[in-house]
Amino acid sequence: VIGRHKHCLALADFSREEILEVLDLATSMKEVLQRPIKKVPSLRGKSVVNLFFEASTRTRSSFEIAAKVLSADALNWTASASSVTKGETLVDTARNLEAMRPDVLVVRHAAGGAPRLVAENVSCSVVSAGDGAHEHPTQGLLDAFTLREALGGLEGKTVAIVGDISHSRVARSNLHCLPKLGARVRLCGPPTMIPAGIEALGAQVHHRLQEAVRDADAVIMLRIQHERIGDPLIPGTREYSKLWGLNAKKAEEWLKPSCVILHPGPINRGVELSPEVADGARSVILDQVQNGVAVRMAILYLLAGGNPAEAESKPEAKA
Protein backbone atom coordinates (compact mmCIF):
# COMPACT_ATOMS: atom_id res chain seq x y z
CA VAL A 1 0.00 0.00 0.00
CA ILE A 2 2.80 2.39 0.83
CA GLY A 3 3.78 2.02 -2.81
CA ARG A 4 1.75 5.09 -3.67
CA HIS A 5 4.13 7.25 -1.64
CA LYS A 6 7.39 8.42 -3.06
CA HIS A 7 8.22 10.49 -0.01
CA CYS A 8 7.69 10.36 3.73
CA LEU A 9 7.01 13.98 4.69
CA ALA A 10 4.14 13.88 7.17
CA LEU A 11 2.02 11.23 8.86
CA ALA A 12 -1.02 13.30 7.91
CA ASP A 13 -0.47 11.83 4.40
CA PHE A 14 -0.50 8.21 5.64
CA SER A 15 -3.56 6.01 6.08
CA ARG A 16 -4.05 3.53 8.92
CA GLU A 17 -3.15 0.62 6.59
CA GLU A 18 0.02 2.33 5.41
CA ILE A 19 1.13 3.04 8.97
CA LEU A 20 0.46 -0.57 9.97
CA GLU A 21 2.47 -1.77 6.97
CA VAL A 22 5.48 0.26 8.08
CA LEU A 23 5.14 -0.96 11.69
CA ASP A 24 4.91 -4.62 10.62
CA LEU A 25 7.95 -4.26 8.40
CA ALA A 26 9.80 -2.54 11.25
CA THR A 27 9.20 -5.66 13.37
CA SER A 28 11.21 -7.70 10.85
CA MET A 29 13.84 -4.97 10.70
CA LYS A 30 14.17 -5.05 14.47
CA GLU A 31 14.98 -8.75 14.27
CA VAL A 32 17.89 -7.92 11.94
CA LEU A 33 19.27 -5.61 14.66
CA GLN A 34 19.42 -8.54 17.12
CA ARG A 35 21.58 -10.71 14.83
CA PRO A 36 25.25 -11.36 15.36
CA ILE A 37 25.95 -9.72 12.00
CA LYS A 38 23.71 -6.66 11.84
CA LYS A 39 23.76 -6.19 8.10
CA VAL A 40 21.55 -7.28 5.23
CA PRO A 41 22.30 -6.55 1.56
CA SER A 42 18.89 -5.22 0.47
CA LEU A 43 19.92 -1.63 -0.36
CA ARG A 44 23.41 -2.37 -1.62
CA GLY A 45 24.48 0.26 -4.11
CA LYS A 46 21.85 2.76 -2.93
CA SER A 47 22.80 5.96 -1.20
CA VAL A 48 21.11 8.01 1.49
CA VAL A 49 22.09 11.63 2.09
CA ASN A 50 21.30 13.22 5.45
CA LEU A 51 20.72 16.91 4.84
CA PHE A 52 20.48 18.53 8.27
CA PHE A 53 19.91 22.26 8.72
CA GLU A 54 19.33 21.82 12.45
CA ALA A 55 21.51 20.19 15.05
CA SER A 56 20.59 16.59 15.77
CA THR A 57 22.75 13.72 16.81
CA ARG A 58 20.19 11.10 17.66
CA THR A 59 17.98 11.32 14.58
CA ARG A 60 20.87 11.71 12.16
CA SER A 61 22.77 8.77 13.65
CA SER A 62 19.61 6.71 13.65
CA PHE A 63 19.08 7.30 9.91
CA GLU A 64 22.76 6.67 9.30
CA ILE A 65 22.73 3.33 11.13
CA ALA A 66 19.45 2.34 9.45
CA ALA A 67 20.98 2.99 6.03
CA LYS A 68 24.17 1.11 6.88
CA VAL A 69 22.40 -1.97 8.28
CA LEU A 70 20.59 -2.19 4.93
CA SER A 71 23.98 -1.83 3.15
CA ALA A 72 23.16 1.59 1.67
CA ASP A 73 25.86 4.24 1.72
CA ALA A 74 25.15 7.16 4.03
CA LEU A 75 26.52 10.66 3.69
CA ASN A 76 26.00 13.45 6.22
CA TRP A 77 25.67 17.04 5.13
CA THR A 78 25.28 19.56 7.92
CA ALA A 79 24.31 23.14 7.39
CA SER A 80 27.02 24.71 9.51
CA ALA A 81 29.69 23.00 7.40
CA SER A 82 28.05 23.71 4.07
CA SER A 83 27.60 26.55 1.66
CA VAL A 84 24.37 27.54 3.39
CA THR A 85 26.57 29.76 5.50
CA LYS A 86 27.77 31.27 2.22
CA GLY A 87 24.22 32.10 1.17
CA GLU A 88 23.07 29.16 -0.91
CA THR A 89 19.29 28.62 -0.96
CA LEU A 90 17.62 25.44 0.27
CA VAL A 91 16.50 24.41 -3.21
CA ASP A 92 19.97 25.04 -4.67
CA THR A 93 21.59 22.95 -1.95
CA ALA A 94 19.12 20.13 -2.56
CA ARG A 95 19.62 20.26 -6.35
CA ASN A 96 23.38 20.18 -5.94
CA LEU A 97 23.13 17.14 -3.69
CA GLU A 98 20.73 15.53 -6.11
CA ALA A 99 23.27 15.88 -8.88
CA MET A 100 25.33 13.36 -6.91
CA ARG A 101 22.50 10.88 -7.53
CA PRO A 102 21.38 9.80 -4.06
CA ASP A 103 18.31 7.56 -3.78
CA VAL A 104 16.94 9.17 -0.63
CA LEU A 105 17.40 12.63 0.85
CA VAL A 106 16.69 12.86 4.58
CA VAL A 107 15.91 16.48 5.42
CA ARG A 108 15.72 18.28 8.75
CA HIS A 109 15.00 21.98 8.78
CA ALA A 110 13.85 24.63 11.24
CA ALA A 111 11.15 25.79 8.84
CA GLY A 112 7.95 23.77 8.56
CA GLY A 113 7.38 22.61 4.98
CA ALA A 114 11.05 22.68 3.98
CA PRO A 115 11.21 18.93 3.19
CA ARG A 116 8.14 19.26 0.97
CA LEU A 117 9.75 22.15 -0.90
CA VAL A 118 12.82 19.98 -1.42
CA ALA A 119 10.64 17.04 -2.56
CA GLU A 120 8.99 19.23 -5.18
CA ASN A 121 12.37 20.18 -6.62
CA VAL A 122 14.28 16.90 -6.74
CA SER A 123 13.59 13.57 -8.41
CA CYS A 124 14.74 11.26 -5.58
CA SER A 125 12.72 10.27 -2.52
CA VAL A 126 12.63 12.66 0.43
CA VAL A 127 12.14 11.73 4.08
CA SER A 128 11.46 14.41 6.65
CA ALA A 129 13.57 14.14 9.78
CA GLY A 130 11.60 16.94 11.42
CA ASP A 131 10.58 20.31 10.04
CA GLY A 132 9.94 23.26 12.33
CA ALA A 133 6.81 22.81 14.40
CA HIS A 134 5.16 20.82 11.60
CA GLU A 135 5.90 17.08 11.79
CA HIS A 136 8.54 14.54 12.67
CA PRO A 137 7.04 11.52 10.91
CA THR A 138 9.64 8.87 11.77
CA GLN A 139 9.45 9.88 15.44
CA GLY A 140 5.67 9.49 15.27
CA LEU A 141 6.13 6.03 13.75
CA LEU A 142 8.69 4.92 16.31
CA ASP A 143 6.46 6.13 19.14
CA ALA A 144 3.56 4.11 17.68
CA PHE A 145 5.86 1.10 17.26
CA THR A 146 7.10 1.37 20.85
CA LEU A 147 3.57 1.81 22.21
CA ARG A 148 2.29 -1.14 20.21
CA GLU A 149 5.12 -3.27 21.52
CA ALA A 150 4.73 -2.12 25.15
CA LEU A 151 0.91 -2.18 25.27
CA GLY A 152 0.29 -5.09 22.90
CA GLY A 153 -1.74 -2.88 20.55
CA LEU A 154 -3.20 0.61 20.39
CA GLU A 155 -6.90 -0.07 19.89
CA GLY A 156 -8.83 1.52 22.77
CA LYS A 157 -5.69 2.71 24.59
CA THR A 158 -5.30 6.17 26.09
CA VAL A 159 -2.09 8.13 25.47
CA ALA A 160 -1.36 11.44 27.21
CA ILE A 161 1.10 13.86 25.60
CA VAL A 162 2.46 16.42 28.06
CA GLY A 163 4.47 19.55 27.43
CA ASP A 164 4.91 22.31 24.86
CA ILE A 165 2.36 21.09 22.31
CA SER A 166 2.49 24.31 20.25
CA HIS A 167 6.12 23.98 19.31
CA SER A 168 6.24 20.18 19.13
CA ARG A 169 6.46 18.46 15.77
CA VAL A 170 6.56 15.18 17.68
CA ALA A 171 3.14 15.87 19.20
CA ARG A 172 1.79 16.79 15.78
CA SER A 173 3.02 13.54 14.21
CA ASN A 174 1.64 11.57 17.15
CA LEU A 175 -1.72 13.28 16.63
CA HIS A 176 -1.75 12.26 12.98
CA CYS A 177 -0.85 8.68 13.81
CA LEU A 178 -2.17 7.37 17.13
CA PRO A 179 -5.91 8.07 16.54
CA LYS A 180 -5.67 6.20 13.19
CA LEU A 181 -4.52 3.17 15.16
CA GLY A 182 -7.48 3.41 17.53
CA ALA A 183 -5.88 5.23 20.47
CA ARG A 184 -7.40 8.16 22.36
CA VAL A 185 -5.02 11.09 22.72
CA ARG A 186 -5.02 13.60 25.58
CA LEU A 187 -2.91 16.73 25.43
CA CYS A 188 -1.68 18.51 28.51
CA GLY A 189 0.49 21.54 29.20
CA PRO A 190 0.42 25.21 30.09
CA PRO A 191 -2.49 26.97 28.33
CA THR A 192 0.08 29.16 26.54
CA MET A 193 1.56 26.05 24.97
CA ILE A 194 -1.56 24.41 23.61
CA PRO A 195 -2.70 25.71 20.22
CA ALA A 196 -6.30 26.89 20.00
CA GLY A 197 -8.51 24.49 18.06
CA ILE A 198 -6.17 21.48 18.39
CA GLU A 199 -9.21 19.44 19.53
CA ALA A 200 -10.19 19.35 15.87
CA LEU A 201 -7.45 16.75 15.34
CA GLY A 202 -9.31 14.41 17.69
CA ALA A 203 -7.56 15.12 20.98
CA GLN A 204 -8.83 15.98 24.43
CA VAL A 205 -7.16 18.94 26.14
CA HIS A 206 -6.34 19.01 29.87
CA HIS A 207 -4.42 21.59 31.82
CA ARG A 208 -3.93 19.56 34.99
CA LEU A 209 -1.40 16.77 34.75
CA GLN A 210 -3.25 14.56 37.23
CA GLU A 211 -6.40 14.60 35.08
CA ALA A 212 -4.49 14.06 31.85
CA VAL A 213 -2.69 10.93 33.06
CA ARG A 214 -5.57 9.36 35.01
CA ASP A 215 -6.01 5.77 33.74
CA ALA A 216 -3.72 6.53 30.79
CA ASP A 217 -1.93 3.52 29.28
CA ALA A 218 1.06 5.63 28.27
CA VAL A 219 2.42 9.13 28.79
CA ILE A 220 4.64 10.88 26.26
CA MET A 221 6.60 13.62 28.04
CA LEU A 222 7.92 16.31 25.70
CA ARG A 223 11.11 18.25 26.17
CA ILE A 224 10.81 21.80 27.40
CA GLN A 225 13.19 23.76 25.24
CA HIS A 226 15.47 25.98 27.28
CA GLU A 227 14.95 28.90 24.94
CA ARG A 228 11.26 28.99 25.91
CA ILE A 229 11.97 29.28 29.61
CA GLY A 230 11.59 32.80 30.90
CA ASP A 231 9.79 34.05 27.83
CA PRO A 232 6.12 34.85 28.43
CA LEU A 233 5.01 31.25 27.70
CA ILE A 234 6.20 29.92 31.05
CA PRO A 235 7.66 31.86 33.94
CA GLY A 236 10.35 29.42 35.05
CA THR A 237 11.67 25.91 35.21
CA ARG A 238 10.64 25.28 38.80
CA GLU A 239 7.05 26.26 38.24
CA TYR A 240 6.86 24.17 35.06
CA SER A 241 8.37 21.19 36.79
CA LYS A 242 5.99 21.53 39.73
CA LEU A 243 2.86 21.71 37.59
CA TRP A 244 3.66 19.60 34.52
CA GLY A 245 6.77 17.61 35.35
CA LEU A 246 6.64 13.98 36.40
CA ASN A 247 8.55 12.77 39.45
CA ALA A 248 8.53 9.44 41.29
CA LYS A 249 5.87 10.52 43.79
CA LYS A 250 3.40 11.78 41.16
CA ALA A 251 4.06 8.73 38.96
CA GLU A 252 3.36 6.43 41.90
CA GLU A 253 0.17 8.23 42.95
CA TRP A 254 -1.31 9.28 39.62
CA LEU A 255 -0.36 6.66 37.03
CA LYS A 256 -1.92 3.27 36.77
CA PRO A 257 0.60 0.50 37.46
CA SER A 258 0.96 -0.63 33.84
CA CYS A 259 1.39 2.89 32.40
CA VAL A 260 4.60 3.35 30.38
CA ILE A 261 6.53 6.58 29.86
CA LEU A 262 8.01 7.81 26.58
CA HIS A 263 10.17 10.81 25.76
CA PRO A 264 11.54 11.78 22.33
CA GLY A 265 14.83 12.95 23.89
CA PRO A 266 16.96 14.70 24.81
CA ILE A 267 15.60 14.76 28.36
CA ASN A 268 15.89 17.77 30.62
CA ARG A 269 16.35 15.85 33.82
CA GLY A 270 14.60 17.51 36.71
CA VAL A 271 12.36 19.61 34.44
CA GLU A 272 9.82 17.44 32.63
CA LEU A 273 11.07 14.15 34.08
CA SER A 274 12.88 13.38 37.30
CA PRO A 275 15.81 10.98 36.95
CA GLU A 276 14.03 8.24 38.96
CA VAL A 277 11.18 8.27 36.44
CA ALA A 278 13.37 8.58 33.34
CA ASP A 279 15.42 5.56 34.44
CA GLY A 280 12.59 3.71 36.19
CA ALA A 281 10.74 0.54 35.33
CA ARG A 282 7.98 2.37 33.43
CA SER A 283 10.39 4.08 31.09
CA VAL A 284 10.61 2.75 27.53
CA ILE A 285 12.77 5.67 26.40
CA LEU A 286 15.75 3.56 25.37
CA ASP A 287 13.45 1.12 23.53
CA GLN A 288 12.30 4.14 21.54
CA VAL A 289 15.86 4.77 20.41
CA GLN A 290 16.35 1.19 19.21
CA ASN A 291 12.92 1.09 17.59
CA GLY A 292 13.80 4.32 15.80
CA VAL A 293 16.48 2.51 13.82
CA ALA A 294 14.05 -0.31 12.91
CA VAL A 295 11.32 2.10 11.79
CA ARG A 296 13.78 4.15 9.70
CA MET A 297 15.08 0.95 8.10
CA ALA A 298 11.50 0.12 7.10
CA ILE A 299 10.95 3.59 5.60
CA LEU A 300 14.26 3.56 3.70
CA TYR A 301 13.58 0.03 2.42
CA LEU A 302 10.11 0.93 1.20
CA LEU A 303 11.19 4.16 -0.50
CA ALA A 304 14.53 3.06 -1.97
CA GLY A 305 13.62 -0.54 -2.74
CA GLY A 306 12.98 -0.43 -6.47
CA ASN A 307 9.83 0.14 -8.44
CA PRO A 308 6.81 -0.43 -6.22
CA ALA A 309 4.27 -0.39 -9.05
CA GLU A 310 5.76 -3.61 -10.38
CA ALA A 311 5.99 -5.06 -6.90
CA GLU A 312 2.22 -4.98 -6.56
CA SER A 313 1.65 -6.95 -9.73
CA LYS A 314 4.06 -9.62 -8.53
CA PRO A 315 3.18 -10.23 -4.89
CA GLU A 316 5.79 -12.90 -4.34
CA ALA A 317 8.99 -13.96 -5.98
CA LYS A 318 9.26 -17.70 -6.04
CA ALA A 319 12.59 -19.04 -7.16
Binding site: S28, I37, G305
Partner: protein
Protein backbone atom coordinates in the same frame (compact mmCIF):
# COMPACT_ATOMS: atom_id res chain seq x y z
CA UNK B 1 1.40 -35.76 -5.98
CA UNK B 2 -1.40 -36.55 -3.57
CA UNK B 3 -1.43 -36.56 0.22
CA UNK B 4 -0.28 -40.20 0.53
CA UNK B 5 2.59 -39.71 -1.85
CA UNK B 6 3.71 -36.53 -0.11
CA UNK B 7 3.63 -38.35 3.21
CA UNK B 8 5.76 -41.19 1.81
CA UNK B 9 8.19 -38.76 0.23
CA UNK B 10 8.64 -36.75 3.45
CA UNK B 11 9.30 -39.97 5.39
CA UNK B 12 11.83 -41.06 2.78
CA UNK B 13 13.57 -37.66 2.87
CA UNK B 14 13.74 -37.91 6.66
CA UNK B 15 15.36 -41.36 6.45
CA UNK B 16 17.84 -40.24 3.79
CA UNK B 17 18.88 -37.18 5.79
CA UNK B 18 19.25 -39.27 8.97
CA UNK B 19 21.36 -41.91 7.16
CA UNK B 20 23.61 -39.36 5.63
CA UNK B 21 23.95 -37.46 8.90
CA UNK B 22 24.96 -40.67 10.72
CA UNK B 23 27.46 -41.51 7.98
CA UNK B 24 28.97 -38.04 8.30
CA UNK B 25 29.06 -38.26 12.08
CA UNK B 26 26.77 -35.24 12.20
CA UNK B 27 23.64 -36.74 13.74
CA UNK B 28 24.16 -34.77 16.97
CA UNK B 29 24.91 -31.48 15.26
CA UNK B 30 22.02 -31.51 12.83
CA UNK B 31 19.73 -28.45 12.51
CA UNK B 32 16.89 -27.70 10.15
CA UNK B 33 16.09 -24.34 8.58
CA UNK B 34 12.92 -23.81 6.56
CA UNK B 35 12.83 -21.08 3.91
CA UNK B 36 9.71 -18.93 4.20
CA UNK B 37 7.07 -19.44 3.30
CA UNK B 38 6.90 -22.80 1.49
CA UNK B 39 9.76 -24.48 3.31
CA UNK B 40 8.63 -23.78 6.86
CA UNK B 41 5.90 -26.42 7.24
CA UNK B 42 7.97 -28.96 5.38
CA UNK B 43 10.90 -28.28 7.72
CA UNK B 44 8.63 -28.90 10.69
CA UNK B 45 7.52 -32.25 9.24
CA UNK B 46 11.11 -33.24 8.56
CA UNK B 47 12.00 -32.33 12.12
CA UNK B 48 9.33 -34.80 13.28
CA UNK B 49 10.69 -37.53 11.01
CA UNK B 50 14.25 -36.94 12.19
CA UNK B 51 13.16 -37.02 15.82
CA UNK B 52 11.63 -40.44 15.18
CA UNK B 53 14.74 -41.78 13.43
CA UNK B 54 17.48 -40.16 15.48
CA UNK B 55 15.76 -40.12 18.87
CA UNK B 56 16.12 -36.37 19.38
CA UNK B 57 14.55 -33.45 17.55
CA UNK B 58 17.14 -31.26 15.80
CA UNK B 59 16.67 -27.51 16.38
CA UNK B 60 14.39 -25.79 13.86
CA UNK B 61 14.68 -22.28 12.41
CA UNK B 62 13.06 -20.21 9.66
CA UNK B 63 14.54 -17.78 7.16
CA UNK B 64 12.81 -15.00 5.26
CA UNK B 65 15.10 -14.15 2.39
CA UNK B 66 13.28 -10.96 1.30
CA UNK B 67 16.12 -8.70 2.47
CA UNK B 68 18.67 -10.80 0.55
CA UNK B 69 16.92 -10.92 -2.81
CA UNK B 70 18.85 -9.92 -5.91
CA UNK B 71 15.81 -8.65 -7.80
CA UNK B 72 14.80 -5.72 -5.58
CA UNK B 73 15.37 -3.24 -8.38
CA UNK B 74 13.14 -5.23 -10.77
CA UNK B 75 10.40 -6.34 -8.44
CA UNK B 76 10.37 -3.62 -5.80
CA UNK B 77 10.16 -3.87 -2.04
CA UNK B 78 8.39 -6.91 -0.66
CA UNK B 79 5.10 -5.83 0.90
CA UNK B 80 5.49 -8.22 3.83
CA UNK B 81 8.69 -9.58 5.32
CA UNK B 82 8.13 -12.45 7.70
CA UNK B 83 10.26 -13.36 10.67
CA UNK B 84 13.68 -14.89 10.37
CA UNK B 85 14.03 -16.97 13.48
CA UNK B 86 17.29 -18.82 14.06
CA UNK B 87 17.72 -19.23 17.81
CA UNK B 88 20.44 -21.83 17.93
CA UNK B 89 24.13 -21.20 17.27
CA UNK B 90 24.81 -22.01 13.63
CA UNK B 91 28.54 -22.42 14.27
CA UNK B 92 29.69 -25.98 13.54
CA UNK B 93 26.19 -27.30 12.74
CA UNK B 94 25.23 -29.45 9.80
CA UNK B 95 22.33 -27.42 8.48
CA UNK B 96 19.56 -28.78 6.32
CA UNK B 97 17.98 -25.96 4.31
CA UNK B 98 14.43 -26.88 3.39
CA UNK B 99 12.23 -25.46 0.63
CA UNK B 100 9.16 -26.80 -1.13
CA UNK B 101 10.22 -26.25 -4.75
CA UNK B 102 13.70 -25.81 -6.22
CA UNK B 103 13.58 -23.81 -9.44
CA UNK B 104 16.05 -21.07 -10.49
CA UNK B 105 18.17 -21.50 -7.35
CA UNK B 106 18.04 -17.79 -6.53
CA UNK B 107 16.09 -18.26 -3.32
CA UNK B 108 18.66 -20.82 -2.17
CA UNK B 109 21.50 -18.45 -3.09
CA UNK B 110 19.87 -15.75 -0.94
CA UNK B 111 19.26 -18.22 1.90
CA UNK B 112 22.93 -19.27 1.86
CA UNK B 113 23.99 -15.62 2.05
CA UNK B 114 21.63 -15.03 4.93
CA UNK B 115 22.55 -18.11 6.93
CA UNK B 116 26.29 -17.36 6.89
CA UNK B 117 25.47 -14.01 8.51
CA UNK B 118 24.41 -16.03 11.56
CA UNK B 119 27.68 -17.93 11.80
CA UNK B 120 29.76 -20.53 10.03
CA UNK B 121 27.99 -23.87 9.72
CA UNK B 122 30.06 -27.05 9.37
CA UNK B 123 28.16 -27.84 6.16
CA UNK B 124 24.84 -27.06 4.52
CA UNK B 125 22.59 -29.54 2.75
CA UNK B 126 19.57 -28.66 0.66
CA UNK B 127 16.36 -30.69 0.86
CA UNK B 128 13.34 -29.94 -1.34
CA UNK B 129 10.05 -31.64 -1.99
CA UNK B 130 10.15 -30.99 -5.74
CA UNK B 131 13.14 -30.20 -7.96
CA UNK B 132 11.51 -28.82 -11.10
CA UNK B 133 14.67 -28.01 -13.08
CA UNK B 134 15.23 -24.61 -14.72
CA UNK B 135 18.29 -23.62 -12.66
CA UNK B 136 19.88 -20.22 -13.29
CA UNK B 137 22.69 -20.74 -10.77
CA UNK B 138 25.03 -23.66 -10.04
CA UNK B 139 22.94 -25.01 -7.14
CA UNK B 140 21.72 -28.58 -6.63
CA UNK B 141 19.53 -30.35 -4.09
CA UNK B 142 21.17 -32.94 -1.83
CA UNK B 143 17.77 -34.48 -1.14
CA UNK B 144 14.78 -34.18 -3.46
CA UNK B 145 11.37 -35.80 -3.03
CA UNK B 146 10.78 -35.73 -6.77
CA UNK B 147 12.79 -34.56 -9.75
CA UNK B 148 10.75 -33.46 -12.78
CA UNK B 149 11.34 -31.08 -15.68
CA UNK B 150 8.56 -28.48 -15.72
CA UNK B 151 8.18 -25.86 -18.45
CA UNK B 152 8.92 -22.25 -17.51
CA UNK B 153 5.36 -21.30 -18.38
CA UNK B 154 4.10 -23.54 -15.59
CA UNK B 155 4.09 -23.08 -11.84
CA UNK B 156 4.61 -25.90 -9.34
CA UNK B 157 2.45 -25.34 -6.29
CA UNK B 158 2.87 -27.24 -3.06
CA UNK B 159 -0.28 -27.05 -0.95
CA UNK B 160 -0.05 -28.26 2.62
CA UNK B 161 -2.78 -28.53 5.26
CA UNK B 162 -0.67 -26.44 7.68
CA UNK B 163 -0.93 -23.56 5.21
CA UNK B 164 -4.71 -23.87 5.02
CA UNK B 165 -5.07 -26.31 2.11
CA UNK B 166 -7.94 -28.84 2.41
CA UNK B 167 -5.42 -31.64 1.87
CA UNK B 168 -1.77 -32.01 0.91
CA UNK B 169 -1.15 -31.83 -2.84
CA UNK B 170 1.45 -30.84 -5.40
CA UNK B 171 -0.02 -29.47 -8.63
CA UNK B 172 1.38 -28.01 -11.84
CA UNK B 173 -0.55 -25.01 -13.17
CA UNK B 174 -0.03 -22.42 -15.89
CA UNK B 175 1.71 -19.42 -14.33
CA UNK B 176 -0.56 -16.50 -13.47
CA UNK B 177 -0.11 -13.27 -15.35
CA UNK B 178 2.49 -14.39 -17.88
Amino acid sequence: MNANEIDRVVKRLGREIADRARAAGAAKDLAIVGIRRGGVHLAKRLQGELERTLGAAPPLGTLDIALYRDDLAEKGAAPVIGPTDVRFPVQGKTLVLVDDVLYTGRTVRAALDEIVDFGRPRRVWLAVLVDRGGRELPIAADFAGARVEVADADDVQVRLVEAGAPEDAVVVKPRRGS
